[in-house]
Assembly symmetry: C2
Homo-oligomer: 106 residues x 2
């Protein structure tokens, strides 16, 4: 199989999973961290920053963009990327919202 049965879970559970999956690769974590550091940059800056080939970076950027975590605007012949703040705050909200635990199990 290898196919996730998304229809068996709630929309919220799937949303959390999709956002988490977008972050579930060190290169994408690095991209996010870099974007936060420099605020705005073009794709080529990221290619120069990370030790991965340009098509690989492009692919990771696409996944981050699909998840809504970053956005990119055309600027001349380059593309200006930045964090998509609302979604980013949503992520922090999602993981924060799970919070109240009170288990005295093991």
């Amino acid at each position: 199989m290898g196919i996730t049965k998304t229809d068996l879970f709630t929309e919220n559970q799937n949303e959390i999973a999709i956002l988490a999956k977008a972050i579930a690769h060190p290169a994408r974590v690095a991209i996010i961290e870099y974007l936060i550091k420099v605020n705005v940059c073009i794709c080529n800056d990221i290619v120069n920053e990370l030790p991965l080939a340009q098509p690989t970076i492009s692919q990771h950027l696409k996944e981050l963009k699909n998840a809504g975590i970053i956005k990119g605007n055309i600027e001349g012949n380059a593309i200006c990327y930045c964090i998509n703040e609302p979604v980013f705050y949503k992520i922090q909200g999602l993981f924060g919202a799970i919070l109240p635990i009170q288990n005295k199990c093991c």
Copy 2:
């Protein structure tokens, strides 16, 4: 390939990625939410709660345990599962720590 080049990234970046990957499946999100709700339960409760086969649940539990998000203690012939609080708080810390954004890009 299909293999993540973890050696090219920092330990912190890899750690965030590993924790995010553990959450990157709706079934595992559902398990976490359930464990938070009931505090403590045995594996079979989760099998009854979720619409997936027992070996599939067992596999997801293993991944959550490997990531350190949950822990399980033998209790008779059953296994008592619960959230591993320190790691759980760490997750919230990690995603919270990325926070300060100030981009006026697009």
